[in-house]
Symmetry: D2
C-alpha cells in the first residue's frame, strides 16, 4: 500500500530532510512539493543533493490537488502555518512542523509568539507530537504538532523523572548546545560561516526561548502542578545535533533506573550504561536519541545528558514517525537509517 | 535470501561505514566482525553510533568460523590484507578495501608500496573494483580489489574521455581536495582537529601519491598506450568528501556529451547540466557521484569536476555495490540512501 | 609622530581587520570610522571583539571632517568606492580596498565589472597596490588600489617566474582554495554555516572570476606580451586563508631559485626549502606569505604553492603596508604580528 | 632593558603560544627553547607558523645555560614539571604553566593527580597565577603557578561574587564549553578532526575534572568556608576558546554591579552591559576576558557567562602577564593584541 504525501514548504531544511528520509521509506510516495518563492523550480535546483530522486516540481500551495493526498507535512514558518492549515481540506491528515500548534492555551501562544493565534479551534484539536508519550492520541489524530527540537531533547531527559517523582521539581536546569541547522536556512549575519565557526555563545538566555512554552505546558501536565525549568541554549559550530545537559537534584542511580525502565521498549530511545554520556556525533542524521546519567560529586545531584539530531528526531524524523502512526504504517518505517559517523 | 557477511577489520572508518550501510541492506546479515586490538569489545563501545544494532562482538580473525560466511569484506591496512586474505578459505568471496590488490603488476606494487607483494597469485586473480567499468568481471570474481577513493574520483571524471579520445592524453592535471576521513582513524599529529581545521595544504604533491599507480594502470589500459597524469591532493578541513578538479585539453561540450552518454544508464553517476559544477556536500554519506563540465575561457580547454563521498562510493559503498554483484543481489541494494545535507 | 586615519566602510570584515591591525600600530591613530547603515553605533556593537579599544562612533561619510586626516582607507564595495573617492579632498591620501582602481584600462573594467567606470581619471592615477612590486610608485602615490586577495596570491607565486622567463607562459593553471571571509559579511545562502561547512565546490570556474582582470593586466605587463592563465577558485570550509596551487611548465629547481632570489630581502615573503609546501594555517591572521615549490614526476613540470591570509596580507594588511610607505613610516610597522596557530 | 627568556617545553601549543606572543613583546628576548624529543630541530620545523622569527634551535633542558636567563616559562606536562623545576637554579624566576604548583595542599594534589607531589617545598612557595587576584604576591614571587584554563574562566565569573556574598554558595553550577587546543597536541583518538568536528559531548562530568581542585581551594579561601561547585566541561568543535555558563542564585543586577565594580580598572577583564552575553569568537587569540550577566525568568536566579581564549589568557597570555609583573615590566606589555575575528 502506498501513502500519497504532500510537503508544504519543501525549500527549507526540514522540508529537505523529509524528502531525504521518505526517499527510502517503503510506503510513502511524494506527490506534491510546495515552495512559494521557489515555485516552478525543480527540487534538484533548490537542493542538488536530492537530484537522484524523481520528484514533483515545486509549486504554490494553491496549485496542489489535495484530493489524492493522504497526508501533508507542513514545514512552513510559524504564523504562516496556521493560516495555511486552516484552509486545507478537513479530512486531510496533517503533521505540522512549525510552532503553531504545540501550545494548547491561546494565552500561552500569545505570550511566547507575540500575537494572538488565528486558528484557535485547530489549536485545541492538535495533538502534541512527542511520539513516545502521545502514541495513542497521535494514531487517532488528524492534526499533529511537531515539537520544538530543543523541547524534545529536554523532555526525553526529564519526563519519566518528573512522572516518577524522583527529582526536585524546583531545581531543574537545562543547559543546551545546538547545531546551527535548527535556525533554518534564513539569511542572518550570525548564521554565516565566518561568524559562527570556531566559537560559541549563549542566546535567548535567562528564560526567553520560546521552547520554554512547551516545557512549561508539558512538565506541568506530567507533574500535576506548575513546573518552571531554567533553560539556556547555546549555538555551536556544527550543523546538526542537540546536546542537553540537565542538572537535577535526585539520586543518580534511581534516575538512571527510571529512564532505563521507561524507555526499555522504545526503538529510538537508548539509555546508555550508568556513567556513560552521549555525543551528538553518535546520532547524526538518525532518529535515535542517546541518554546518559551520571552522579555529581555533590551528594543528591545528578546530571542527565540527552543527544539527538535536530533535523531528524527533533523535527522531520519525528514527523515521519508520527505520520506512520496516523497512516497505520509500521512506526519505524523509513527511520531505521544508522547515524552517519564520521 | 540472506547473505552471511564477515567484516575483517571492523574498528576503522571503512569497517564502520560497511556496518552503517549494511544496517539497512535488505539481504545482508553480519555474522562476524574482527578487530585484533579491540577483540572482545562490543561494536557499541568502539563506535557508539552503531549501538542500536544487534551485532556480533569483535573477535580475532582466527576465531571466525568461515564455513557459514558467504562473503568477507576485508578492511585491514595494506600489507596486512594480503597476509590475511592468503589464508582465507579458497571458496570464500572477498572484497578487499585495502590497496593490496589494486595493481596487477608486482613491480608496480613494489614501486608504490615499497616492498614486494607476498601474494602474487592472488594479485593476478583480483578484479579491479571500479564497478561501472568492471561489472562483468566483478560478477564472476572471487576476489575484488576496492579502488583508492581518490583514484575512483579521478577515473569517474576521465575514463570515458580517454576511451573516446576526446582529450589530449599528455595534458591532464588532477587537483584533488579530500576530507580527512580518507586518512583513517590513525593517530597522526596532522589529523588532530587543532592542526587540521581552519586551513588547507597540499600533500604527496608532484607525483608521490600512491593512487597514481592506479591512475597509470587504468588510464594506460583504457588508452592502449602509456598515460601519465599530474595529480596533487590537498587535505581539507572536512570529514567526508573528495572533489577532483580535472584540467583537460579538449572541447568542453564534446567532453560533457561524452560523459553524459557514458553514464546515462548508471544509477549512481550523475552528470550535471553543462556548466554546472558539483559540491561534495551534495553526495555526503551516499553512493552517488556528481560530475560537472565547464569550458575554460582559453579555447580548447575544459574543466571536469567530480565529487563523491570517500567512505561511501569511494570505499565501503563501492565495496557493497561489488558484493551485491558477486552475490547475485540487486546491484543497488542497500545503497539508495539519499545524501545527508546539511 | 602620529598619523590620523579614517576608515570608510568600517562595518565589514576588511574594515574590522584594519582596526584590529591598527590597534597595535605604533604611529596610526583612528580618528573617523564610517558605516552608512550602522552610523550612530559604537564599533563595539558592530564588532564586539573590538570592545577594548577606544574608537570613534560610526558615522556617515559626509559627517567626517577630513581636514585633520592624513590617510583614508576605503573599505567600501566596488562601484560605491569610485563614487565616494571622487568626492574626497584632492590632497587626502587614499588606500582603496575595493576592486575599483585595480585595472588601468576602462574597457577591462567594464568587461569584468559589467558597467563603465565613473572616475576614469582617478583610475589612471591609481597605483596597483602589490607592495613588493610597486614600492616606489606607492611611496609617491596619492591613491593606491589594493589588489584582489586571490590576485595577490597568484602573483606572489608567478611574477618573478614570468619576469625571468623560466616558465612556459601558455601553460599556467592556478587552482585556488579560498576561505569564506573573502566573500565578506554579505547575507548569501551559500555563505551560511550549514551550507558551507563540511564541503567544498568550485565557483566562477572556467575564466569567469573578476580577479582574472588583474592577472591579465599584470602578467601581460611583466611578460611584455599577452598572458592568459587558467584560474579556478574553490570555496573551502574555513574562515581565513588562500592557497594557490599553480601548475607550470619549467624546471622546478630553477623556479625555486628564481623565487628565493626574488624574495630574499622581503620581510613578508617566505620561500620554503625546495620540496616543502605551505599551509594556510601557518600564515593565519598575519601579513606573511609562504611559498613552496616542488617538481612533478613528469619532467619539465613544477608546482608552486602560495599561501596567505586573505584579510591580512590579501587585503587589510597589504593596505597598511602601503599606507606605511605613503606616510613615510616603517614599511612593516604594525604588521609583525605572528600568525595565530592553532 | 631586555629580559632574557627561556621556554622549557616549547614544542607544545602553550610553548608555541608563548613564542607567538613574545614575538612582539617590547622587552622579552627568547634565548633558549627546549623540547626533549625534538631537540636539535629548528622551531620552524616544529611550528612552521613561526618561521619568520629568528629563534634558538630546540635543545635539551640540560643543555641550557641558565646563567644569562632572567625568567623561564615551564610549559611541560604535569609531574615532569615538578621534577624539572626542582633542579633549576634557585635564583631563576619561573612561571610554570602545568598543574604542578596550583594546589597548596599536598593531599589535594595527590587526590586530584593520583600520586604524591615530589617537590612539596616548592609547592608551598608557589604563588597562584590568577593575576588580577594575586598581583602583589606575583610581583614578589620566584615561582608562579599558571592556573588551569577552565579554572581561570570560572573564577573570573565567580570570585567577586563569592567575596561579596551576593550569591548562594551552595547553588553554583558551572557548565563549561571548551575548544580542543586545551587538550594539547597529544595523539588521542577523540582529538582527531574526524572524531571531534561536527559534534559535542560532556567529559569528566559529575565532579571528576582536575580543575575542581583549584575551584575548591580558591573559592573556599575567598569564602572563608568550604565551597563545592558543580562543574561539567564539554568539548566543542573549535580550536580555541572557553565559555563558562555559570548558574547562580542571587540578584542578577547586584551580581552585575559587583562584577563591574570589581573589574572596573582591569585592562583585560571586560564586563558587558547588563543582559549582554559574550562569545568566545570575540576574545580569540587575545588576553581579554568578556563577562556577561543576565537574570533568569525564575526570580532570584542569574546566569553569568565568561569567555576567554584558553591558550592566551587561559595559559600563555596569563603567564606573560605574570612574568611582566615579576620582571618589573609593564603588566600589559606584549598582550594588547586585538582578538582575531573572523
Amino acid at each position: 500500500m502506498t501513502h500519497k504525501i504532500a510537503i508544504l514548504g519543501a525549500s527549507g531544511y526540514t522540508g529537505a530532510e523529509l524528502v531525504r528520509l521518505i526517499a527510502t521509506h517503503p510506503s510513502m510516495e511524494i506527490v506534491a512539493l510546495t515552495g512559494d518563492r521557489k515555485a516552478g523550480m525543480a527540487m534538484a535546483e533548490v537542493f542538488p543533493f536530492l537530484r537522484h530522486l524523481d520528484l514533483p516540481t515545486l509549486c504554490k500551495i494553491e496549485e496542489v490537488d489535495f484530493s489524492g493526498v493522504d497526508l501533508a507535512f507542513c514545514a512552513l514558518p510559524h504564523a504562516t502555518s496556521q493560516a495555511v492549515i486552516s484552509k486545507l481540506p478537513r479530512d486531510l491528515k496533517v503533521v505540522d512542523l512549525s510552532a503553531d500548534f504545540r501550545l494548547r492555551d491561546p494565552a500561552e501562544y500569545q505570550k511566547w509568539y507575540g500575537k494572538p493565534h488565528s486558528a484557535v479551534e485547530l489549536q485545541k484539536e492538535a495533538v502534541y507530537g512527542l511520539t513516545e508519550f502521545y502514541r495513542d492520541e497521535i494514531r487517532a489524530a488528524r492534526l499533529v504538532a511537531g515539537t520544538g527540537c530543543n523541547a524534545a531533547t529536554g523532555q526525553y531527559a526529564l519526563r519519566p523523572l518528573i512522572a516518577a517523582g524522583v527529582i526536585d521539581l524546583d531545581q531543574i536546569t537545562i543547559d543546551l548546545k545546538a547545531g546551527v541547522s535548527g535556525a533554518g536556512r534564513s539569511l542572518k549575519e550570525n548564521l554565516l560561516h565566518a561568524e559562527l565557526s570556531e566559537g560559541t555563545h549563549a542566546y535567548a538566555a535567562g528564560g526567553k526561548h520560546r521552547h520554554l512554552g512547551e516545557f512549561d505546558q508539558e512538565f506541568s501536565k506530567v507533574a500535576g502542578r506548575p513546573v518552571l525549568v531554567q533553560f539556556t541554549p547555546h549555538l555551536l559550530p556544527m550543523n546538526r545535533g542537540i546536546l542537553a545537559t540537565v542538572y537535577v537534584h535526585g539520586d543518580a542511580e534511581e534516575i538512571h533506573a527510571t529512564l532505563a525502565a521507561a524507555y526499555e521498549r522504545e526503538t529510538f530511545l537508548e539509555v546508555l550504561p550508568f556513567g556513560a554520556l552521549p555525543s551528538t556525533r553518535d546520532v547524526r542524521g538518525s532518529n535515535f536519541v542517546h541518554i546518559g546519567v551520571t552522579a555529581d560529586r555533590i551528594p543528591g545531584r545528578a546530571i542527565v545528558v540527552a543527544a539527538l539530531d535536530n533535523l531528524a528526531k527533533g523535527s522531520s524524523g519525528q514527523a515521519i514517525q508520527n505520520a506512520n502512526l496516523m497512516l497505520g504504517a509500521e512506526e519505524t518505517a523509513g527511520l531505521m537509517l544508522a547515524p552517519v559517523f564520521p
